[in-house]
Amino acid sequence: MKNFYMGIDVGSVSTNIVILDEENNIVWKKYLRTQGKPIDILKEGLKEVRKELGDIDIKGVGTTGSGRQLAGLILGADVVKNEITCHAVSALDFMPDIKTIIEIGGQDSKIIIIRDGIVVDFAMNTVCAAGTGSFLDRQAFRLGVGIEQFGKLALKSDNPVRIAGRCAVFAESDMIHKQQLGHNQEDIIWGLCQALVRNYLNNVGKGKEILGPIAFQGGVAANEGIKRAFEDTLKQEVFIPKDFDVMGAVGVGLLAKAEVKRKKTTSFKGLNISNIDYKVRGMECNDCANLCEVIEIQEGNNILARYGDKCGKWTNSIKDSSKLA
């Protein structure tokens, strides 16, 4: 029986699952919308793995993304890693001489600088989500254009409209004004792509030495308009990996494989956890002025984890069978 490894990236907008084989090939991948229900989507994803691949032998599991801790707990992951390390690992696997990674996801945008195969510098957007996937999503919706057509429309324009890109609120009002003036849709969309790239390079990419080869990954890489805007500004080709939308999951899958090789066993609970009922309860602890928001996760009738309290009172009392409110 062949060995497989699973990488899962639970992001703000999408949950991605990949299955890798022993030679690091992607055997199967799935891009699901998280829709604020990480546990349900995770279970749905696992069900699909079973349906399409049968009961395969998964030797190791890794989780990443902003929901990595939660997903790691539920699955019994071997590795729980931040997105930056994972994107670097997968990009290096895609192109070993990579020097710069541009990653734009749902709520984060990152730049990772790599020299001689190691991460030497990185940056993430600081406070504002302007110029990330969810911003584009929203603007596409507002313009009445499917996000899938967004990039193609941008490419049709050769007369971009300048749109303020530093702040999502300003960008939106600027865009509305330009619409009212009668600019056509393609020009506005192309202008928006340029604004996003300008904002990215001035904020996230500020002070970084962006050398080629450059890889562009994350969900937004599907947008040809953004790719073209990057290439115009940086004056060089930007490479998009075939599996750009699941690169985080690929990276953590590779890390899980390495970890399992080292410890020779996996802590993965098996694909049948998609049948188990998970419940999440939250409460505000009123025992002190911190008013911590405590979360409890139940697996069937057992308490799987509690977290969110600053003092550790709830986290540590997990064996105590009394449940929260």
């Binding site: 902003s66 390390t85 940056a123 406070v127």
Partner: protein, 332 residues
């Protein structure tokens, strides 16, 4: 006995040992507001003007917390604590800001400290504060002498490598000569920023403790001695006239040039005017010296995922770099 409230915010971590000893020696009871928590944050945000930075808002919350529990609140007007230098405008106007934002306050003791031109006025400020509380010259003099001693012990600990959040707990206990620098740590990271952001553990989501629990040695600007800070900040083409700015730049420059750190985490409050200059100065210097640098900008968010991801990735990167230098496979 009269009670004085000291809000646990702004310059608290710079001067608390001095203030506490002074008032206690005068026979006055001290009440310190509790550590920042959600209640204090909410109180602060609802009473403070909206454009202020988070530490100022939190300070408002601490005053709200104290106002019904004490007879006086101590909010010194710290204008300048060194020759030809100034503090942030929000520190200069802090007592007024509080007075006009919060209602039903007990009297505020707003001792003015202005040493910009000379140190002469300093003694007068101390006596005026003591007199206000009905104490005579000799009592005040004796109390201040003692306060100075306890402040010196605090500074001594910081220079020995004790992080301020620890030092503030132990400076007045009997202690042996602790030598923290002998402990073995895999990495040394400088956490830089204004004292009121880097030591408020609620505001920064326990940044320093998180690093320390990863077996990382943490150095902060307050732990670098003054002489060194002056020497290195003087390397700037123009004199830095903000005291805290000078401390941040001088301490970061000294640690970078002396190659004592593996990385720098700059913690900044959203909207800090000083930081808009300081972050860039420190970052450029770090890039030149090839020392990893990252900036964390905080406001009132309490979801920790964003901060944790950045810290984790930063630590990973430094470990990855170190392993590579030691010729161990970089992948694992």
């Amino acid at each position: 006995m009269c009670k004085i409230g000291i809000p646990r915010g702004m310059f608290f971590y710079d001067y608390f040992p001095l203030w506490k000893e002074f008032f206690q020696e005068l026979g006055i009871e001290i009440i310190v507001s509790s550590k920042t928590n959600k209640e204090i944050l909410n109180l602060g945000i609802s009473s403070c003007v909206d454009e202020a930075c988070l530490p100022v808002k939190i300070f408002h919350g601490h005053v709200e917390y104290l106002k019904d529990k004490v007879d006086y609140i101590f909010i010194p007007r710290i204008m300048s604590i060194d020759r030809m230098e100034y503090c942030c405008p929000k520190v200069l106007g802090l007592p007024d800001m509080i007075r006009y934002s919060i209602g039903k306050l007990p009297p505020i003791i707003d001792t003015q400290i202005n040493l910009r031109k000379s140190n002469n006025k300093y003694k007068k400020s101390i006596y005026d504060t003591g007199k206000l509380l009905g104490k005579d010259f000799w009592e005040i003099k004796k109390a201040y002498k003692k306060a100075e001693k306890s402040y010196e012990r605090y500074i001594y600990l910081l220079n020995k490598g004790v992080v301020p959040i620890e030092a503030i707990k132990i400076y007045d206990k009997v202690f042996k000569d602790i030598n923290y620098s002998s402990e073995h740590n895999e990495l040394t990271i400088m956490v830089v920023g204004h004292s009121y952001s880097i030591y408020d553990e609620y505001l920064n989501m326990n940044l320093i403790s998180k690093l320390m629990s990863n077996n990382i040695k943490v150095i902060t600007p307050e732990m670098i001695n003054k002489e060194k800070i002056n020497r290195y900040s003087n390397k700037l083409p123009k004199r830095m006239f903000w005291t805290h700015g000078k401390r941040i730049v001088g301490s970061a420059f000294s640690l970078i040039e002396e190659q004592k750190i593996d990385g720098i985490i700059y913690l900044s409050s959203f909207g800090c005017g000083m930081d808009s200059v300081l972050v860039d100065l420190v970052e450029r210097k770090a890039i030149k010296a090839e020392i990893p640098f990252t900036l964390l900008t905080l406001d009132e968010q309490t979801g920790e995922a964003g901060v944790n991801t950045r810290i984790e990735a930063f630590i990973d990167m430094m470990k990855w770099r170190n392993r590579d230098e030691n010729n161990i496979s970089a992948f694992r």
